[in-house]
């Protein structure tokens, strides 16, 4: 039986006349690095806030470790979170902030994983400076230190690289990578698609508060109908491919060929090339997560909610 860490079950949230989240469901299993994708206003932050007990759903339920979430519920001790940007008491030092935050939850400093948290933050002597003197990147690193104090089983990260410069973004992504390699379950909300593609094993796409699709990131990317192949004989391959009824728009590109599948599978193309005695070096979808994301959003706006599995079959 799978070990469900986060469960969002039929949740809806309204703000006045606006449906921020509507009948939304998904779950995250232990060890998954789960991306929450969507444009601004899609309902990602509202969903994460409901998971963390900061907002109450109008209907439905959110669960952490199998227990319904309420404000200040005990399960929050097992979760470390950054919701939007990391924020602190500005007139206190980084170290003081960490200690006060930990003690406010009733914890003893002896029980906190302070050394590891400080190593992660890597702020050096700046840890004793007032937080108001920190750059946004330093605050974000301190935010990671804070969420790691309790050795959390689940990390909830809402737009963790927002407002950072490229160097800081790289630092934070490397940090997330290190944490995921240590086995943490992660729920990451982002509209930086490359971030999700690099970091996440699974993802869902939401828009206007509704689920568009969900699955593994490779499945999501694999919904593409455009593929790229590299072969030992490009001319022969081109001649063969243009005759295949399932393939259109075959073009030379770089060292290979790019084409669009009208129907059928990518493997059909591979089989045809190999059968013709052409040595196949590479066969891969051309699009990245960004393309899949935009395609899915466009389809979702058009009223259709494509299932990932259905999209794969059609390709």
């Amino acid at each position: 039986m799978s070990d469900v860490i986060v469960e969002v079950d039929g949740v809806s949230k309204r703000f006045g006349e606006v449906n921020a989240v509507e009948d939304f469901s998904f779950h995250v299993e232990r060890g998954q690095v789960y991306g929450l994708l969507g444009p601004n206003g899609a309902g990602k932050s509202t969903t994460l806030r409901m998971i963390m007990g900061l907002e109450r759903p109008n209907s439905g339920v959110t669960r952490l470790f199998g227990t319904a979430v309420t404000a200040g519920c005990p399960e929050l001790t097992r979760v470390g979170a950054i919701v939007e940007q990391a924020a602190f008491v500005p007139h206190l030092s980084g170290m003081r902030n960490l200690k006060l935050w930990w003690m406010a939850g009733g914890g003893r400093m002896a029980d906190a994983d302070l050394d590891n948290a400080l190593a992660i933050a890597d702020l050096g002597e700046a840890i004793d400076r007032k937080v108001k003197t920190y750059s946004q990147g330093m605050k974000q690193r301190l935010g990671f230190a804070r969420l790691l104090l309790g050795r959390p089983e689940l990390l909830v990260l809402d737009e963790p690289t927002n407002g950072l410069d490229p160097g800081e973004i790289r630092e934070i992504r490397e940090l997330i990578g290190r944490l995921t390699h240590q086995g943490a379950t992660v729920l990451l909300s982002s509209h930086h698609l490359s971030e999700v593609e690099q970091v996440c094993s699974h993802a869902l796409v939401m828009n206007h508060g509704r689920l568009i699709t969900s699955g593994t990131v490779s499945d999501l990317v694999g919904t593409t109908k455009s593929i790229y192949v590299e072969v030992d004989d490009r001319a022969a391959a081109h001649e063969l491919l243009v005759q295949l009824p399932s393939v259109i728009n075959v073009q030379m590109q770089g060292d290979g060929l790019v084409m669009v599948l009208r129907d059928g599978r990518r493997s059909d193309v591979g089989a045809a090339l190999v059968s013709a005695g052409i040595r196949l070096e590479t066969l891969m979808p051309t699009q990245r997560l960004e393309d899949a994301f935009l395609d899915l959003l466009a389809a979702g706006d058009g009223g259709a909610v494509p299932s990932l599995q259905a999209a794969q079959v059609s390709s």
């Binding site: 963390m52 900061l54 404000a71 200040g72 924020a87 206190l92 935050w101 939850g105 009733g106």
Partner: protein, 276 residues
């Protein structure tokens, strides 16, 4: 709960604003005492009104005069600042959501914040009394006083040094407790906004409106329910040689505000969506 109170106290006490308030609470009473001294030493001046006229008789009476002068506005502003700021400042920093992602009930957090604000309000009132007492003792010494009852209409009465000290103690406690309603109202406003200045302004505004309405005698008994109506009831200890029954009623009114408005604040905060 003690850990929560300790963290909230550290946050509140370590602000630069707290240092400014501290200096103000020491400086202003000292300035008032110096002014009383300057006025009383000049034969062409009458020494001022009420407690100010009498204050130069004894350093033990000076705190009463200074409390009378500061409890009507300065202490209200300071108390309003401390109460109105309690939740809203964390919301303004974006830190509130991180506090609430800890396994701590919102009611406990709010009570801890209100408790710390209340503690600082008491500390501010005591500091005003102490600053005035020290300056008064230095300039006027510790003597018994002779006070004209009701401005001399009922003769005079004497208060010994010990009795004066006791009455100053009671007056200080009454004034500090008299801000309980303000504490509850300020805490409630603080849960309603993410801008500390708005919460502080609204809290002080309620007290100013209460003071204005309280001065309109045509409102009759309605005024008895205003949070400021009984704030000055303690002064009869010094001007009429009596412990007014209104002090008891004043305490009951403050407790009622504290319980009712405090419960509303907890209910509001407990159900609030935290978006800051």
């Amino acid at each position: 709960m003690i850990a929560l109170i300790r963290t909230e106290f550290t946050k509140a006490a370590s602000r630069t604003r707290s240092l400014v308030i501290l200096l103000l609470l020491i400086g202003l009473p000292t300035l008032i005492v110096v002014a009383i001294n300057a006025r009383s030493g000049r034969p062409d001046r009458d020494g001022g009104e009420g407690l100010f006229r009498l204050a130069s008789q004894s350093g033990l009476l000076v705190p009463a005069a200074v409390l009378s002068a500061t409890s009507g506005f300065l202490l209200i502003v300071i108390a309003g600042t401390l109460a109105g700021d309690s939740v809203a400042s964390d919301a303004n920093w974006g830190n509130l959501r991180y506090l609430l992602m800890r396994p701590v009930s919102r009611a406990r957090l709010l009570i801890a914040k209100a408790f710390v604000a209340g503690m600082l309000i008491w500390a501010a009132t005591i500091l005003v009394t102490l600053a005035a007492l020290i300056a008064g003792l230095i300039l006027f010494g510790a003597h018994p006083v002779t006070i004209p009852s009701l401005g001399g209409l009922l003769g005079t009465f004497n208060i010994s040094g010990g009795a004066l000290a006791l009455r100053v103690l009671i007056a200080t406690a009454y004034v500090a407790f008299g801000f309980s309603a303000l504490l509850a109202i300020g805490t409630l406003f603080s849960t309603l906004t993410d801008t500390a200045a708005s919460a502080i302004g609204a809290t002080v505004g309620v007290y100013i409106v209460s003071e204005i309405l309280n001065s309109i005698t045509q409102l009759g008994q309605v005024r008895y329910a205003f949070p400021t109506h009984y704030l000055d009831a303690w002064e009869t200890m010094f001007t009429q040689n009596t412990y007014s029954k209104e002090m008891i009623v004043g305490i009951v009114v403050q407790v009622a505000y504290l319980v009712v408005v405090g419960a509303v604040a907890i209910a509001v905060f407990d159900r609030k969506d935290i978006r800051s």
